[in-house]
């Protein structure tokens, strides 16, 4: 049970916290105190012992001085001399009397006085009993002969004393100083005892000893035999000691063994634990002991210890009580909460706790209540949901039941289908064999076809290549090897590409062909000294979508054709140039003669001849130009520069050039420009050439009247109409009009050679065709006139935009005056 452990924990904790320091401190304290006290007591005892020692010495000194004093007594000396020398009994008696009456009375502690002769016999004494005793073996006799000697006597009695202090001194002859004997004083130990106990000093008026001195203090002397010599006992008290008892204790041992003083705790003669200090008196072989029973010495400490212990016990009780109370205080609410959780766990979600401790535990209690509240809510909510879900489930189960039934039906149907499927399989198998047979047949047919095709291809003089989509050769013929000079080596498309690069990017053209699915025809490919024409066609398969599966590549060696063409081109350009120069010279010179030397041509015939030469040269130039144009047009070498032409502007320019000719022939040329017409697309120079041709023809075949030019908008085209009031063209000849060299006469000899080469209309037709229009004879009536027309396409917005920056209605074209007449 957790609760107990909390209390226990608290208990332990409190105890530890409260008591350990206290107790620890207390114990320490007490121990320290005890130690200190012991020290103090030891010190005090030692001091006391020292003091006592001093006192003892002083006392002994007094005894000794007494003895010395006695020993110097003349009467005693003389007496002794008498006794020794004369053995005078009288002397003895006198001496005894003297001793008794004069000497012994001086000191109350003097138990007796003896005078001993050199043999050791007691010759005089204060006590008759002592007379005649043999003292020869006694130390005090032996030592006393030499000087004053003090010793304790415990082993035999003198003068009825069990214990006495003997002080002896030598007796010498007054006169000679000769040793006569020894004087021995026997002192009672009473005074020594009193010294030890302090009474002597008190009696003597000495300052009383230490007022703190505890009553149980024992001060005594131990002799060299480890026997107690003197021990003052407090009056009235029971004594546990007797003089002469053995005192073989620690300090005694230490003094005799090491000659050292002791201050310690040990067992005394009576086996009682005492704290004591010792003083060694080595001269005498005595040990002074000062002892206090530890019980008494540490009584105060002991008492204090008891008090502490009592206090400690009290504290423990208090602490325990506090701990228990505290624990109860803590544990109480925890218990409440614990119970509450159990209640709630059992299902009573409405249970709430009430904790009013005013601390975190109260907060915990409140939180617990909140949680319980929330739990209750959500539980209630959950219950709802569960109810709903259960309803759904029931419905679903019903549906499932229904579905199950239909599934069973489906199963049955499926079984039927399987049966049918099996039947189908059989049929299919049969079909398959049939189809296979057909396939075999067809394959053979195809193989035959292929064989024929391949043979045809191989026989071509054109190079033939059939590639797949990856530019790999599927089929080719020997002509390719021949054209590219591969010989017997194996080659690939890559080899061809290498040969043709960098002048011609073969692979790029292949790619373009495949990508755009269009044929690519490239002439003028250079391979060394040869020219090649390469024609690429894509192989498109329209299976379900258009797919390029490869290419057909044809290669033609057009070197010869090219050479031919070039030589023809050269021929034409050179020829035309070469022909023109002398013709120009003829025309120019004759013209200049006519212009500048007219006065020298006064002869009409000469003038006419020069005129004829001039005119011939002009005609020849025309012929040359016609031939050149024709060949260029036929070969497709004429370039048409497409521009935007504003016919209303251009046509008057052309007409202007003819004004001279026409006015000479007294013919008019009119341009009827009624509506504004849109611009057209065409080559400006060629347009002028065509118009010139038509107007020229018009003027040529007209005797009276003139030529009229009009425009007509045909929607997509503008039609230029040139009408003359000339002789007209007979119907039969009309079909031959645009033919080469044909004039409007069918017979080759029936030609008007003065009227040009007959190439004009042919050239015009080719030109207009080249500009995207058409030329035709509109109408012709013999005797009335002829109308020719040609069309040019209207410029679209796109065209205008294209040529926006173009030369179109350009004025710099006038810088290039290639002539108003045909080029």
């Amino acid at each position: 049970m957790k609760l107990k452990s909390v209390r226990t924990k608290l208990l332990i904790f409190f105890l530890l916290v409260g008591l350990v320091p206290l107790i620890g401190g207390g114990v320490l304290n007490v121990t320290r105190a005890r130690q200190n006290l012991q020290e103090e007591i030891s010190n005090k005892l030692t001091l006391f012992a020292e003091a006592k020692e001093g006192q003892i010495f002083a006392y002994l000194d007094s005894l000794e001085s007494r003895t010395v004093d006695f020993s110097s007594d003349g009467f005693i000396r003389d007496s002794l001399k008498e006794i020794v020398k004369k053995s005078s009994t009288q002397a003895v008696g006198d001496l005894n009397e003297h001793l008794r009456n004069n000497k012994q009375v001086l000191d109350s502690t003097l138990a007796g006085i003896s005078v001993v002769d050199l043999k050791g016999k007691v010759v005089a004494s204060t006590s008759d009993e002592e007379m005649g005793k043999n003292e020869s073996n006694d130390k005090y006799f032996i030592k006393g002969q030499k000087g004053v000697f003090t010793v304790e006597l415990t082993d035999h009695a003198h003068f009825g004393l069990v214990t006495s202090i003997i002080v002896s001194a030598p007796l010498t002859d007054k006169a000679s100083g000769e040793l006569l004997g020894v004087l021995v004083n026997f002192f009672k130990t009473d005074k020594l005892s009193a010294v030890l106990s302090g009474e002597l000093q008190k009696e003597g008026g000495a300052i009383s000893s230490d007022p703190d001195r505890i009553e149980t203090l024992e001060v005594y002397l131990v002799g060299p035999d480890k026997e107690m010599i003197v021990h003052p006992s407090s009056s009235g008290k029971e004594t546990a000691h007797t003089t002469g008892m053995k005192v073989d204790t620690l300090p005694v041992q230490v003094c005799f063994n090491n000659n050292k003083e002791t201050a310690a705790i040990y067992s005394n003669y009576g086996q009682k634990e005492v704290i004591g200090a010792s003083m060694c008196l080595p001269n005498k072989g005595w040990v002074l002991l000062v002892e206090v029973p530890t019980k008494d010495a540490f009584a105060s400490i002991t008492r204090s210890e008891f008090e502490q212990a009592g206090l400690g016990a009290l504290l423990i009780i208090v602490v325990i009580l506090t701990a228990v109370l505290f624990a109860a205080g803590l544990v109480g609410p925890i218990k409440i909460l614990h119970e509450a959780t159990e209640v709630i766990a059992r299902g009573n979600l409405g249970y709430r706790v009430e904790i009013k401790t005013g601390d975190e535990i109260e907060q915990l209690g409140n939180a617990f209540n909140e949680m319980a509240g929330k739990l209750q809510e959500s539980y209630a909510g959950l219950e709802e949901k569960v109810r709903e879900k259960t309803k759904d489930l029931v419905v679903k189960i019903e549906d499932l039941g229904k579905a199950n039934k239909s599934r069973a039906a489906t199963e049955r149907a499926m079984l039927n289908i399987l049966e049918d499927a099996r039947e189908l399989e059989e049929e299919l198998a049969n079909e398959k064999t049939g189809v296979e047979k057909k396939v075999v047949e067809r394959t053979r047919e195809l193989a035959e076809e292929q064989a024929r095709l391949v043979a045809s291809i191989k026989g071509l003089s054109l190079g033939f290549m059939l590639t797949d989509n990856q530019n790999k050769i599927i089929l080719t013929n020997p002509a390719v090897s021949r054209i590219f000079g591969f010989g017997d080596q194996k080659w690939t498309i890559a080899d061809i590409e290498k040969l043709l690069a960098p002048g011609f990017d073969f692979l790029a053209s292949c790619a373009k062909c495949k990508a755009e699915k269009k044929t690519v025809d490239v002439r003028d490919i250079v391979l060394g000294p040869n020219f090649l024409r390469i024609f690429l066609a894509p192989v498109v398969m329209t299976h379900d979508h258009e797919e390029v599966i490869g290419m057909v590549i044809l290669v033609e060696d057009i070197t010869e054709a090219k050479i031919l063409e070039r030589s023809r081109d050269e021929f034409f350009s050179i020829a035309s140039h070469e022909l023109r120069t002398p013709l120009t010279a003829i025309k120019g010179n004759t013209s200049m003669i006519l212009d500048y030397f007219a006065d020298q041509l006064k002869d009409r015939q000469m003038k006419e001849m020069i005129d004829d030469v001039h005119e011939s040269s002009i005609r020849l130039i025309e012929i040359v130009n016609d031939f050149l144009d024709t060949s260029r047009l036929e070969l497709g070498k004429m370039q048409f520069e497409k521009g935007i032409l504003n016919l209303s502007q251009l046509i008057p320019n052309v007409i202007k050039q003819y004004q001279v000719t026409s006015s000479r022939k007294k013919l008019y040329i009119h341009f009827e420009d009624q509506e504004k017409q849109p611009p057209v697309v065409g080559d400006q120079d060629r347009f002028r050439q065509v118009l010139i041709n038509l107007i020229g023809n018009g003027l040529k075949f007209t005797k009276e009247g003139g030529v009229t030019v009009t425009l007509k908008n045909m929607g997509k085209f503008i039609k230029v109409l040139v009408s003359d009031t000339g002789m007209g063209i007979p119907k039969d000849n009309q079909k031959l009009l645009f033919r080469k060299f044909q004039q409007a006469e069918s017979n080759i000899f029936t030609r008007d050679t003065t009227r040009g080469t007959g190439l004009g209309l042919y050239i015009s037709k080719l030109m207009v065709d080249g500009m995207g229009g058409s030329v035709q004879l509109e109408s012709s009536v013999v005797g009335k006139g002829t109308t020719f027309s040609f069309t040019l396409p209207v410029a679209t917005d796109a065209d205008i935009a294209d040529f926006a920056a173009g030369p179109a209605m350009n004025t710099n074209k006038s810088d290039v005056d290639t002539g108003g007449v045909k080029k």
Partner: protein, 132 residues
């Protein structure tokens, strides 16, 4: 009167044009090839140059380039006088800085002279168009 330099290798042609410009009152200088034309231009500083294209050693277009590259000569108007009738050739020449391109065979000498007169009249007023 203005000086015309005619650069033409064909004597038939050079004699003809020499006559017409002389008749028209110009001072006429002749050069029979490109190099002579360049030299005479530098020395004589003609007012206008008539330049044939087809010439040996250095053709007219090359001469034109050199004339227009030389700061001393580039301001002099150059008229191409040739029998080459290609549009391309004309554009090339004009692009190189010629002010006009005349095809000999199409014009009477007098017409050529008139054109030159027009050009000279025009360029006394205006700047010679820069090489495009």
């Amino acid at each position: 009167m203005a000086k015309i330099l005619i650069v033409e290798d064909d004597p038939l042609m050079s004699r003809m044009y020499q006559k017409i410009f002389t008749f028209e009152g110009y001072e006429v200088e002749m050069a029979a090839d490109g190099q002579e034309g360049l030299d005479k231009t530098r020395i004589g500083k003609p007012t206008l140059i008539l330049l044939d294209i087809m010439m040996p050693k250095m053709n007219g277009l090359q001469v034109l380039e050199k004339l227009k590259a030389d700061v001393q000569t580039k301001a002099i108007p150059v008229v191409m006088l040739t029998n080459l009738a290609g549009q391309q050739d004309a554009e090339t020449a004009l692009a190189k800085g010629a002010v006009k391109y005349i095809v000999k065979s199409e014009y009477e000498p007098k017409q050529v002279a008139n054109m030159v007169k027009e050009i000279l009249a025009g360029y006394t007023r205006d700047e010679v168009p820069k090489v495009g």
